[in-house]
């Protein structure tokens, strides 16, 4: 199962993944949570902005959130859902 661990940054457009963990502490961690990006959530990458930044993800089929590549690296995911 851990063999499939990637970061959100590596997910291709149109692909879905499940969030496993978020490598951030305190306030940073919370910011992800407020935006619905918590461990267990399903994310689908919709599109990327100019020069690949930011990444638009659909969270749990509900919210559309833009995430910078830099921050997407903190989000550990597993492909599929």
């Amino acid at each position: 199962m851990t063999s499939g661990t990637l970061t959100l940054e590596e997910i291709e457009e149109g692909e879905s993944a499940e969030i496993l963990s978020i490598d951030a502490d305190g306030g940073k961690f919370r910011k992800f949570i407020y935006m619905g990006l918590y461990p267990g959530a399903t994310v689908r990458v919709i599109r990327r902005g100019p020069a690949g930044n930011p990444i638009e993800v659909l969270v749990d089929d509900l919210l559309r959130i833009a995430v910078r590549k830099r921050d997407a690296r903190m989000v550990k995911v597993r492909k599929g859902s």
């Binding site: 935006m35 990327r48 902005g49 100019p50 930011p54 833009a66 995430v67 910078r68 921050d71």
Partner: protein, 683 residues
Amino acid sequence: MRVAFVGNPNTGKSTLVSSLSGRDIRVANWPGTTVESISAQVRVGEGVLHLVDLPGVYDLLDDGPDAEITLRELLENPPDAIVNVLDASHLERGLHLTLELMELGIPILLVLNMVDEARRSGVEVDSGKLEEVLGIPVVETVAVKGRGKEEVLSGILRARVPAPPVSYGEDVELALEDIASGIEHPARRWLALALLMEQERPFFPIDDSLRDVVEGWRRLLSARYGDLFLYIEGRRISVAHEISSRVVSRRKRRRAVDEWLDALLMNPVAGPVFILLFLIFSFRFAFFLSSPWVDFINTVSDVLGGWILSAGIRGIVASFLIEGVISGVGTVLSFAPVLFLFYLVLGFMEYSGIMARMAFALDTLMAAVGLPGKAFVPLVMGFGCNVPAVYATRTLESFYDRLRVALMIPFMGCSARLPVLVLFASVFFPHGPVPVVLSLYLLGMIMAFITGAILSRMLEYEAPSLFEIPPYRFPDGGRLVKTAWDRTFEFLRGAGTIIMAGVVLVWLTMHLRISGESLYSIISRGILPIFRPMGIQDWRLTGALIPGFVSKEVIIGALAVGFSDMANHLPIGFLEGIGMILDAFARAVRESMGAPGAIFGIPGFRIPPVETSLGDYLSGVLTPAGALAYMVFVLLYTPCVATVAAIKQEFGGRWALFSVLYQMSVAFILALFIYKIAVLIHG
């Protein structure tokens, strides 16, 4: 009975309180509107409810002043009931706070607001089931339309102290009980949790003997659970998630228009182009529509001045009334149309969902200076007028981002500086004035970005930059107008006195005489030596910079006629004055009608013919290199007094002062530098 309204930012707390009490509480569509608690009263049957509107928070233990105000109020002055307002479209985010509030031992009512929005974007919340799961009353409302008011009032009376909603495991519960037994406060369970989370605040009602008990438990429990802060947060997160997955159902289908618009505006190539065009046209719209009204206000001031003269008032008194008081009030008021229209446009962009697309399209660009994509909007707005631009920084979430952008804004050459630059460029560079002016604007932009980059190094603030991309919605015109007016009024009230003071101060320098010489000329001559190295040798040039602090366009007037020349004010008869005002009004109406067409015109510099006397005078005292230095200095030297007032209102006096000093230094260094280079090249 005191009732506190608590919830995430921008969930409609203030709107709800206003609609319940019938009292108008300032509501604006940006987070952080309520920065201190505001209260109102409402009669219910026999009793009176005191409604207290508290600042929006995500978590009572968040950093920052908002959370502190809310937490203090809840602990030091526990209300008889809490109304917890949630945005129905973001239930899970809101529930996180609800679970925390339920630990406070205060009766609580949950209000699901904005159910209209939620429904429109396909989210349905089963409030009956939510009531059952949480064990507290739940009411649905649409606060803007006043729907659900009665239910809220009766719900408040039904509210009871809830059972703790989250269980943290047997051993933690034991610890909580033990710690809580040492606290004399209704919120003892919440306080015990905060202590376990190592989140003490100076105003917690606990005594020192308790600290050892807490320390003992902390050691014991962290051996099992690791970081207790993360553990407790984590429990709340998973309970919030579980509850919301049980009560929220959603319709997946999105409207085709949304998909289509997104494909266009969020396209990596076409997106930024469309967004830029949209920004330019909407700001031009605001600008063209406001300028006839600014002219109208100026005419009214002229007429008032004329009346003063025809009433036989003369000399220093007339001058004070006309150039101090009337011109001061006129300056303040002339910002009203500009601000109002810019706010209208800003409100439209925010509310329609276009702002989020802008942030998306321009994120890469802004990331280069460590700012969120949204920061682009106030910066572009700065080209029109710096003042609304400073207020527009409120659309950014973090204080440091707001501050950084506000310090960058004065480098964006606003439209008031244009006439000055155009005048000098056409006198000294008659063969190519436009490229000269454009490169100066570019210089300003470059300085803005350098400033941003330096500040982001210094302030070293690295919050994750995440933002939501909401569905498109069509704004309700009436509400946009009201919000824009509220924001404008806030400016007039808050910044008006500072601007007045600035105008009067400048007036004083003109009229205070010290041993026969006006303060104005003393200062102008006094600062001249600093400017000599950049080829500025005439004290009238440095003098014109003083009134330029009020507004940069005044510089031309100051150079042309001498600022304190009363000759340009003529007595005006009463009827004649009325006629002029009516005329000006008719013209303003007519020109406003033409504005929508004008925005599509080519942005041209209509280079006005320069009065030959002024042109001759300028070319007599300045070389082209000196003129360039003067232009650079005028472009950058200080934010105008209204911008300073705006910065002070938003960030405090220190930062306003910093901004002035910083701009001065940059202006000075750059002007000198450019002068030297120009001299090197042209000899």
